[in-house]
Amino acid sequence: MEYEDTFVKIAHLLGGDDYVRVARALLNNEDTTDEEIASATGLKINTVRKVLYDLFSKALISGIRVRDEKKGWFVYRWRVKRDNVDTFIDGQKRKILERLRIRLQYEESNQFYHCGNYSCPRLTFEQAVDAFFRCPSCKAPLNLADNSMLKRAIVAKIDELSKEMQKNGEGSA
């Protein structure tokens, strides 16, 4: 995937193999219809439409309504909006980076208590005091939870994202 077209990479991130096949078909034939994509990829028409609408909702492709000369009804011809592709990736990276920074600050400024059951939520110190150090879900006693591993993982991801954004010249992180 490293040297794939950026549009195909996005398609892969959004939905995996079906998205990749539709993306490649869109790149190979500009102004193509859903039916043409379905026959070129071997995917069901419903799947192709679902993928196209998703890509359209993210402004990665545009559709032009034209009249089908044989059948007489309107069909949409789809085209990749190349200018929006890089902006989309840049936007996603910025949003994720911002969320990770918020989470890191939250992890650093709080102490957490947990009962040990994965399905139960973690509580902050204040919430644990209010709950008399008993889990509100399973009533088991709450113990101090070590979040150092999570903090390290967030810091590592923030570093990776910032470096990649600088390398690609996507502005300062």
Binding site: Y3, T6, K95, L100, A156, K157, L161
Partner: protein, 155 residues
């Protein structure tokens, strides 16, 4: 029979796509100088028919430019990369990209990065992947060093 033909054509299309990405990689690695079409086909062991098809496909996608050049008395094309693909490695598998609640995600909202289990799992899995990769490299280096030591002892 028809179905089998369709399957074959799909497989062929897939392999052409894989080759397209390999060809683009080689062109990108040559930088501004680009690479002669004929050299590229030799390196990848491609027929000129498949090769030209791939080069035209890349040109159509706006990823490379084909410059006509005279090389050893024969006309050929030099392929030069126009734009590099953006790196998306750091956001691979990120839950936010496919999250249905993404538009509602705010610091103080009911959906928040502070309480999101998905983002927590993602960074932890990514870190464990990095640690595994590092371990693999260390193991390979250790194995190579041991082999060298054994060989030198045998000598």
């Amino acid at each position: 029979m028809l179905i089998r033909q369709d399957d074959n054509s799909e497989d062929r299309e897939e392999s052409i796509e894989d080759l397209t990405s390999k060809v683009f990689k080689l062109i990108v690695e040559q930088g501004k100088e680009g690479i002669l079409q004929s050299r590229l086909w030799k390196e990848l062991n491609l027929t000129s028919r498949d090769g030209s098809r791939i080069a035209m496909r890349l040109e159509k996608r706006g990823l490379v430019t084909r410059q006509r050049v005279l090389e050893n008395g024969r006309w050929t094309f030099r392929l030069i990369a126009l734009r590099l693909p953006l790196d998306t490695t750091s956001i691979e598998g990120a839950p936010c990209i496919t999250c249905n609640l993404e538009s509602m995600c705010t610091e103080d909202g009911s959906v928040s990065p502070n309480t999101c289990r998905l983002i927590e799992n993602w960074v932890l899995v990514e870190m464990s992947k990095r640690m595994d990769a590092k371990k693999d490299i260390t193991n390979t280096t250790t194995a190579t060093t041991t082999n060298i030591q054994i060989e030198s002892m045998q000598e």
